[in-house]
Amino acid sequence: MQLKTLLAATALGALMASPALAQQISVKAGVLNDRSGLYADLSGEGSVIAARLAVEDFKAADKGIKVEIVSADHQNKPDVGSTIARQWYDQDGVDLILDVPTSSVALAVNQITREKNKVHINSGAASSDLTGKACSPNTVHWTYDTYALAQGTGGAMTKAGGDSWFFLTADYAFGHALERDTSAVVTKAGGKVLGAVRTPFPGTDFSSFLLQAQASKAKVIGLANAGGDTINSIKQAGEFGIVAGGQKLAGLLVFATDVHALGLQTAQGLVLTESFYWDMNDQTRAWSERFAKLNGGKKPSMVQAGVYSGMLHYLKAVEAAKSKDSAAVMAKMKELPTDDPLFGKGTVRADGRKMHDMYLFEVKKPSESKAPWDYYKQVAVLKADEAFKPLAESECPLVKK
């Protein structure tokens, strides 16, 4: 008995003296997203898988960083998301929240993260306000934003002669931001915005709104919505002969998972903007294959890829700062260049905007698609500084002018 106590005491002493173990940092990451609704396929459990892959690839355990990942469903409701975020930060010891699609929820989590001085790496939400007027020293906006989508799809459609627009806008923070940013691009290029209709979110029947868009005689109908809303709008636009009637559809935010749900027969020819597509190079293909094995054969969306990339960069920053203190980690994240197999090299700007190239894709015809998930062909590359809002025009108070 005495011997046992003695041994235990010695072991404990040895543990405390060991320099490697004294540095042990444990990080708790929460993946907060839609796990059951219209955005569940593009974020959901796939984002949790992506975060786990990042921990695995970083070999966190070998570097003295212990990572625990938790997840929850915010049901696309700001109140639900806020409650979970508060509980995670206050009671469960969560250090950072990842993903958070649905801009209204993201803006709420952004605010709470700032109050609690934690870290939020957003991949799923679109509103450019996250690094604009609502920017925070505790938030990084990783994958894309409404400004970049507007530059990509909006710019390309206007250049191709689509100089009059009518918007179908999802009636919440995201839709409003996307409509605003795209309108700015269209007007700047000399085009006109003829009108917009705010559709209740989420919706199923868009025929009435499509008919209003048709009556506007606009050359382009901009779909400022996402997920199931976009799928239903495109499907029903086909049914009402809108594209056949000469008007063009601009899916301002379309994910690979949406194209999968639409089927190529309906989706062919759509022009869309994304920051990641699984079939871009050997590295993205290799990673996506690993991901698909864990995700029931489904390829990653750019949101899920962004969670991986963001988590990886966070861990690098923790390693460099030798601490998980939010201010120190945020400073390191902005100081260190980003580099990963999915998005390549990039940076995190002072306003929290992650900078990387965006890509303009066109959806293939059914005859061009050789394999399942073979959906896009690349049309153009938007360099990071054209895709994202220049700091000089930023509304973010963190940016010194």
């Binding site: 609704g37 959901g44 009435s208 008919l211 799928i231 002969g241």
Partner: protein, 295 residues
């Protein structure tokens, strides 16, 4: 061109027609709910999930078995109706004697389970289902382009609704049913098999939901949440029409579709809530619903 309330009449007619199409779905679904409530006194919260199952069975028929839309229109309601019979025999029957609330809880729980299973297997963003070749294209009505398929939806739902009404209100089978609703013990004493009637009625109500699901498959995405989004609206329709009233459910379904269609023109932001506003007003003025009898 003259204008009506600030909107060109062409646009208005178009929107009214679209409202009628959406009303078709409300009508079939609320009819099923009304039939079930009338005889079983159960508020069938599984209805939305059963509508979704109808759409999924149609998709499975096409993709796994190569069975086309027309056959699925008949097969899917039968298949889903059989699952309804099983649910009634093994679950609902056991709680028939207790408070309504338990039926509501049970069916709500079942709906969550069914939706969860489909979501796990098929994801949440939906599956493509093409419009059958015979019904592609459309007609130019002058004031709008009417896709053939939508026209078919209105006709099919009108036929099904009126046939149901006829069977329940005008035939001998219907009279048994109404008698069993009124006084099950007495009806049974006359030698009519009431438990069988109850089971079949539930199966039929469920089959109606599945039929609406097949109709919806080509125009809405076939996804596990499609019923959950719709069912709340349909409940409001039933409440407005009056619980248990057959004709009430049909008329209210179509007319609320129209009201919603008009709201989409004048104030689109409110189109998701207008039905609930009407529900609140109706409950204040006529608590039994527009066509319901006061209990």
């Amino acid at each position: 061109m003259f204008e009506l309330l600030g909107v060109p009449p062409q646009a208005l007619f178009g929107q009214l027609l679209l409202g009628l199409i959406n009303g078709s779905f409300y009508a079939i679904l609320s009819l099923g709910l009304a039939v079930i409530f009338g005889l079983l006194n159960i508020i069938n919260f599984t209805h939305g999930a059963q509508y979704m199952m109808g759409a999924f069975v149609a998709w499975m028929c096409l993709n796994y078995l190569g069975i086309n839309y027309w056959a699925a229109l008949l097969l899917a309601p039968i298949a889903v109706g059989i699952t309804g019979v099983v649910i009634e025999r093994f679950l609902l029957k056991r709680i028939a004697h207790v408070d309504h609330l338990y039926g509501l809880l049970l069916t709500f729980g079942l709906a969550l389970i069914i939706q969860g299973v489909f979501r796990n297997n098929y994801g949440s963003s939906g599956l493509p289902y093409q419009i059958p070749a015979e019904l592609r294209g459309g007609y130019n009505l002058g004031f709008m382009f009417l896709p053939t398929y939508r026209g078919w939806v209105v006709i099919a739902s009108l036929i099904v609704c009126l046939a149901t009404w006829f069977v329940i209100e005008k035939t001998k089978l219907g009279s048994y049913l109404r008698a069993a609703t009124e006084n099950p013990t007495l009806t049974q004493a006359f030698g009519i098999n009431v438990p069988l009637l109850v089971t079949l009625t539930y199966g039929f109500g469920v089959a109606l939901a599945a039929f609406a699901g097949v109709l919806a498959a080509p125009i809405y995405s076939v996804n596990p949440n499609m019923g959950a989004d719709l069912i709340i609206v349909v409940f409001a329709v039933v409440v407005i029409g009056g619980m248990g009233s057959i004709m009430g459910a049909i008329v209210t379904g179509f007319s609320l579709g129209l009201v919603e269609g008009l709201t989409k023109v004048f104030y689109p932001e409110a189109s998701a809530t207008v039905i609930f506003i009407i529900m609140a007003i109706v409950l204040l003025v006529k608590p039994a619903g527009l066509f319901g009898r006061a209990a």
